[in-house]
């Protein structure tokens, strides 16, 4: 049987010829390393053209001024970066006269007294990231603990928890725009009475808008956090709980002494992931409030890249740099644990 088949395939192979067969045979005869690199070529091409090239080019552009002007671009070295931090280029940002959290006029930016757009954007991005990731972690942990239990209706609760994560950003933004828009939203009145939000023009008030954007983000991305933490919870050895129960540990002690320490690495990595992701915030702000009201780093790039390409590139590269440093931490952890 087997010899017959071998003879058969050999026969077929000898009969077939042409370019396809030649290519197949060439592929088969490649060494493992060459074969591996060959199969990775499409990935290299796509990521090289759409990620690596733009990144390098962005860095190059960030060292020029007048990229879009009629004259030739002028090389200025790191001047764009310096100007960005000193605030010398603030007048170049669209809408900056409309929104400069000036100490004298701004009632709503108690936590920063910056007068520059870039520094505001940096502060806004960091505040948003820290606050949203903190709440997402705490609430996500709670959701993960619930999903870790066996109970009737678990599937329903799980779907309900995942759904916000899956809905399009533009619809999420629209929901919260409608929920807090002064002429439709019922929530604005409640929260304004407590003093959290500005009662009028809520979505044009920097602090109110930032709070709304943060709430919207927590609503959507907590699910992601919950799923990552849930994976950590489910990898905990269940027999440990048996032992603890026999030893007379209370539920709280079991949580504190078994669950928490064993899940902490998963939580840490989830927090890093979310931090990296939260630092990129743009769309939600663009839909719900406006980039001129709540400037984030990505917002600034989008707002300026059609007028001041060099400056926009500098902001983009700084944003990438900050995120790159955080990403290095994640990658270092992965590398230490081995893939």
């Amino acid at each position: 049987m087997s010899t017959e088949q071998e003879a058969d395939t050999a026969d077929r192979e000898s009969r077939r010829s042409g370019p396809l067969v030649a290519v197949t045979r060439w592929l088969e005869n490649l060494g493992e390393t060459a074969f591996a690199y060959l199969l990775l070529t499409p990935v290299f091409v796509i990521l090289g053209a759409i990620a690596l090239y733009p990144l390098l080019r962005t860095f190059e552009l960030s060292m020029y001024v007048n990229v879009l002007g009629t004259g030739d671009p002028e090389f200025v070295g790191l001047q764009n970066y310096v100007d960005m931090f000193t605030g010398a280029r603030d007048p170049d940002f669209p809408g900056s006269t409309m929104f400069l959290p000036d100490v004298s006029t701004s009632s709503s930016f108690p936590f920063v007294h910056v007068s520059g757009w870039f520094r505001s954007a940096l502060v806004v991005t960091l505040v948003f990231t820290i606050v949203s990731v903190f709440f997402e972690t705490v609430i996500g942990f709670g959701q993960a603990l619930i999903l870790d239990q066996e109970f009737r209706g678990r599937r329903l609760v799980r779907v309900a928890i995942i759904i916000p994560w899956a809905i399009p950003l533009v619809i999420q933004g629209m929901i919260f725009y409608l929920m807090f828009h002064p002429s439709t939203g019922f929530l604005t009145e409640y929260l304004a009475n407590v003093g959290i939000l500005a009662p009028t023009n809520t979505l044009n008030d920097p602090l109110s808008a930032l709070i709304i954007v943060t709430i919207a983000d927590i609503w959507k991305t907590t699910a992601f956090m919950a799923l990552l933490i849930l994976a950590g919870l489910q990898s905990v050895d269940r027999s440990l709980y048996e032992v603890a129960r026999v030893a007379g540990a209370s539920r709280w002690q079991q949580f504190k002494l078994i669950t928490l320490p064993l899940v902490l690495p998963a939580v840490a990595i989830a927090v890093l992931f979310r931090t990296i992701d939260a630092m990129r915030i743009y769309g939600l702000i663009d839909i719900t409030a406006s980039c001129t009201v709540v400037p984030s780093l990505s917002c600034m790039v989008v707002e300026t890249f059609n007028t001041h390409r060099g400056l926009a590139s500098a902001i983009a590269f700084v944003t990438a740099g900050i995120i790159g440093i955080l990403a290095m931490i994640v990658i270092y952890r992965q590398y230490k644990e081995g893939f």
């Binding site: 690199y37 390098l56 190059e60 779907v159 629209m174 929901i175 849930l230 893939f339």
Partner: protein, 332 residues
């Protein structure tokens, strides 16, 4: 649920001594304590159900309420008088108007096409990469995987400017050398200007999901296929991929959702917000915010229509999503 409210109202009404007694009772009595835990558990469940689902209820209320009623901003319930959003009037007409004002279905269709094409490209490329990373051993594997991972972390804003230039048809310049390579075709207002960045953006996650799944297929099965005379690539597409069908499905679902939901490139690369120029769902929804700013009921109705495909996908594929996010997110 019922038990907590009972216990709570009991304890609130009673004097200190009774509370102390009750607390002591709960602490001491195992059965009571278990009941308390259970009650708290269901309260928490209910809380999360309400907070995650309420915004959808809010959309429905807005969509069904005639716009003139919405603008009065009065949500007080009849009889009780508490402010709580509820449909005032019944106006399903809004769901028809969504399609009459703009060709909303075309925007949704564009999103579908973009998501499907991107998913196919990503699955093909990521399958090859997942096979290499999951099943082959070769020098440079670790650093390469880290490189792929690194890309997924960068903000889209860092890629935007040169990509935008290239898609406008400006020459590609070798960075730092000033050598102009070639002038690419003008891709703005075509699907290419979105599919390309989407593919790069969502490729890493798919690669890691597929790497995990492909690595789990026993070597023996591949060897058997190879002995039978199948080529290495044949073994990937005829043995390994079918056997990792759940992994492939997971990567497909997550990529599809990610593209359908994408905002950054979707909003920037479609220069003109018309469906003929491949403006996706984002454009459709935002055109209600831009042009007809006061038609709140239409904004809500459009959002509901736009979210339905995703809702169905999540309900059908929830297992896939959970396993994919955890496998791809935590890297096993």
């Amino acid at each position: 649920m019922a038990t907590t409210t009972e216990q709570r109202s009991d304890s609130e009404d009673a004097e200190d001594g009774v509370i102390a007694q009750w607390t002591k009772g709960v602490i001491g009595d195992d059965e009571k304590r278990a009941r308390l835990y259970r009650a708290l558990f269901y309260v928490a469940c209910g809380f999360f159900l309400v907070t995650t689902l309420f915004p959808f209820y809010w959309l429905l209320v807005l969509a069904l309420t005639p716009n003139s009623q919405i603008l009065t901003g009065d949500w007080s319930l009849p009889v009780i008088g508490i402010e709580f959003p509820h449909p005032q009037g019944f106006n399903p007409q809004a769901f028809v108007e969504v399609f009459q004002q703009i060709p909303f279905h075309l925007y949704v269709f564009n999103s579908f096409v973009l998501a499907t094409v991107t998913t196919i490209i990503v699955l093909l490329v990521a399958s090859l990469a997942g096979y290499v990373f999951g099943r082959l051993d070769f020098p440079g594997k670790g650093p390469l995987m880290l490189g792929v991972l690194m890309v997924s972390y960068f903000p889209p804003a860092a890629f935007l400017i040169p990509l935008f230039d290239a898609f406008l048809g400006n020459a590609i310049v070798v960075p730092f050398l000033g050598i102009e390579l070639f002038e690419p075709p003008r891709l703005v207002n075509t699907p290419g200007s979105m599919i390309m960045p989407f593919s790069a953006l969502f490729l890493p996650l798919a690669i890691f999901i597929l790497t995990t799944f492909y690595a789990q297929i026993p070597d023996g099965l591949e060897d058997a296929a190879r002995v039978e005379g199948t080529t290495r690539l044949g073994a990937l597409f005829r043995v390994i991929m079918p056997l990792s069908a759940p992994g492939v499905a997971t990567a497909a679902v997550l990529t599809f959702i990610a593209v359908y939901n994408e905002y950054f490139f979707s909003s920037i690369m479609a220069l003109e917000n018309v469906p003929e120029n491949w403006s996706p769902l984002v454009g459709g929804i935002l055109s209600y915010q831009d042009q007809y700013t006061t038609d709140f009921n239409l904004m809500a109705a459009a959002s509901i229509v736009g979210v339905i495909p995703i809702l169905i996908l999540v309900i059908v594929a929830q297992e896939r999503i959970v396993s994919g996010l955890t496998a791809g997110g935590l890297k096993e």
